[in-house]
Amino acid sequence: MSDNGTFTPVIVGFLCNWCSYRAADLAGTSRMGYPATLRDIRIMCTGRLDPTFVLRALQKGADGVLIMGCHPGQCHYQEGNYKAIRRFALLRRTLRQLGIEDERVQLHWASAAEGVQFAQTVARVTEQIRQLGPLDWARNWPNEDPYAVEEAVHE
């Protein structure tokens, strides 16, 4: 998606119900402006984040993924975000090996009172991904099958 040549990233967000989603709400009630690049999905806790979700978003055309939760030590469910930290660490190493830049998938924290920080984080991450350009993952496997009648559908 581009606008006069500048590329507008599409970023899928995973926000936890108690902290970062409410921070986003607060950014809304405070009328903070930030780029319309983040499309957010609500989960109860960043502990719910299955790495499959991140991979799915990237596979299906997102240019980046932003995961945001409660600050470590303040998780509404005590410890969910610690598990998110662990999974994210291994996911990031794996994505690096698959040639995906670190800036494309990021994990940040925002408490329910941090509407400003939420907006700033979205703006900053948007810029970082904008600099990297579109990910366009499906372009990695153009069809090489000369016998294909129609493309095999990947689910």
């Binding site: 998606m1 507008t8 899928v12 108690w18 989603y21 986003a24 709400d25 950014a27 809304g28 009630t29 009328r31 903070m32 402006g33 930030y34 780029p35 319309a36 690049t37 499309r39 957010d40 999905i41 609500r42 989960i43 109860m44 806790c45 502990g47 719910r48 299955d50 499959t52 979700f53 799915r56 978003a57 596979q59 299906k60 055309g61 997102a62 600050h71 030590g73 303040q74 509404h76 469910y77 005590q78 410890e79 969910g80 598990k83 999974r87 408490s111 329910a112 009172a113 366009d136 993952w137 499906a138 372009r139 496997w141 153009p142 069809n143 090489e144 000369p146 493309e151 559908v153 990947h154």
Partner: protein, 668 residues
Amino acid sequence: MSEPRVGVYVCHCGHNIAGTVDVEHVAEWALNLPNVVVSRENKFMCASTGQEQVEQDIKEFDLTHVVVASCSPHMHEKTFRNACARAGLNPYMFEMANIREHASWVHANDKDGATNKAKALVSAAVSRVIFHEPLEPMQVSIRPETLVVGGGIAGIQAALEIADAGYHVYLVEREPSIGGHMAMFDKTFPTLDCSACILTPKMFDVGAHPNITLLTYSEVERVDGYVGNFTVRVRKKAGMVDQDLCTGCGSCWESCPIRIVDNVFEAGLGHRKAIYRPFPQAVPKYPVIDVPNCTYYKSGKCRMCEKVCPTNAIRFDMQDEVVELEVGNIILTTGFKLFDARRVPNYGYGRLENVFTSLEFERLTNAAGPTEGKIVLRDGETPPQSVAIIHCVGSRDRNYNTHCSAICCMSSLKFAHLVMEKTGAQVYNFYIDMRPLHKGYEEFYHRIMDEGAQFIRGKVSEITDAARSPEEDGKLVVVCEDTLIGQQRRVPVDMVILAAGLEPRADAQAVGYMFGVGCGDTGFFTERHPKLDPVATVTEGVFIAGACQGAKDIPDSVAQGAAAAARVLGTISKREVALEPIRATIDEERCSGCRICNNMCPYHAIDFIEEKGVSRVNPALCKGCGTCVAACPSQVITGAHFTFDQLMAEIDGILVDVLSDQPIVEAV
């Protein structure tokens, strides 16, 4: 299985959404999404007309799922779920798309971007909702007994309200007596009521109440179970005094030869004995022995208290007693701790003799305190002729605590009044902002101004005894910027009182963990919703009230204690409570017993069933965070309402305009 039939409703919210998002276009576009059979827009979906439209459509179009694109689910998810329920549709067959807080309100300068995002969010909701299940809340029965942890004013209020209503309360308190910080105060603002005079009748009522079991000198060690059915292990520390025999006569502590500084009740200003009762009006009235300081436990000698006790109540070999309480609800009222003013070295507390903290001053001016209520310097004799009161010590400060402690302005005004009344000294209040917020507080402020206190607006940078001029000799000099006149000032005084802030208790995090309550960024316990639900927590059956939830004064603590009691009484009277059906379930047929989920749960909701070699989630303990669901490597744990299928569909739906299903067909 019949085909899903989805109804989509896009709200204008007046101009709030429609001013930025092209609502008509979104509604029209949504009709083309898979499974959507009706798509409408409405000026105010949450109004009765909006809700009625949904109800009508459900019946008329046989809708199986409903999506409303409007504000945040935190605002109106319940509203629309109830509308669905009224029309006979399970309320969980509903999903919201937040196109106000997350779109129109934040992309006001980018109408195309906002509209595009709104479409993506609607598509996501439509894709997700068809995987929703008709969930039913789980009913659990409620035991009528209640546990209140912490015997300060909030806990006392909560306990009395529940006990007066006819239900049993266990009140657990760590110290030998209930009363908390309020028992230490001299007078309370703004009425200048004697604190003990208004507190002790309530304390007495607690002690005498047939429905209250008071467990003082006791601590909670472990909490198991779930709302309506908690099992709490409490350790009753051995006080070495048989309470069935003791009459509270006081002979023991009068004869005890060991005198030590009382750091708790006397704030380090006064003394007590090794066998002691914290204060005269203590409830219960029985003393306890401070074992580490008692001669008998060090050398086997003395035993004076035993010799003089007329009823033979001393028991040196008493052991701690551990009891298990079965309760239906728990209220945490564990209070606060005072900011340690030694952390601000430039204020000289602990180094400069006549710098006092607020709690020390309370003991000073209290008629039952170590100086019998005389306001004097550390020498115990000399009254001050000038006193500085410093507001915001350790509060509103990036170096220590960023929050405002709510009571310090009022306490400082109160101190000013007491100093002027008792000593006639000149009082200076050094403040940043004046926060007399509640009923009668502003008037009290004016009264203190009228009484002659001087108010200097500016943050104090230093309190020093290094004199720079003869007037400063032998004085404490308060160095500050007087912002109202735009000048630096040095104000020499005899005594400084630091209005130290209120902090969470040092063990708040550990205590919270034990009860399933988290701590926020300021360290106080986290409430379920800061505006609409300040006494409930994310754990059903556990409530918080008073200063442990956030710095507050006595009226607010009392109100919260009563509010928590009302909530508890509500669940007791209903006999049953409905638990949100958002929780995890393990498919035992497909569980392979890897046990990775076993230590994912901070609520101990997952057990391993040895005989079957599978793990199992206790649905009443599960809070629905989904951490175990995401951890399961064989994907056999279902997170109700946040299932794998629902979230994957949501991701696909949210990328509706960039979806890459097909590889690009190109020449090789």
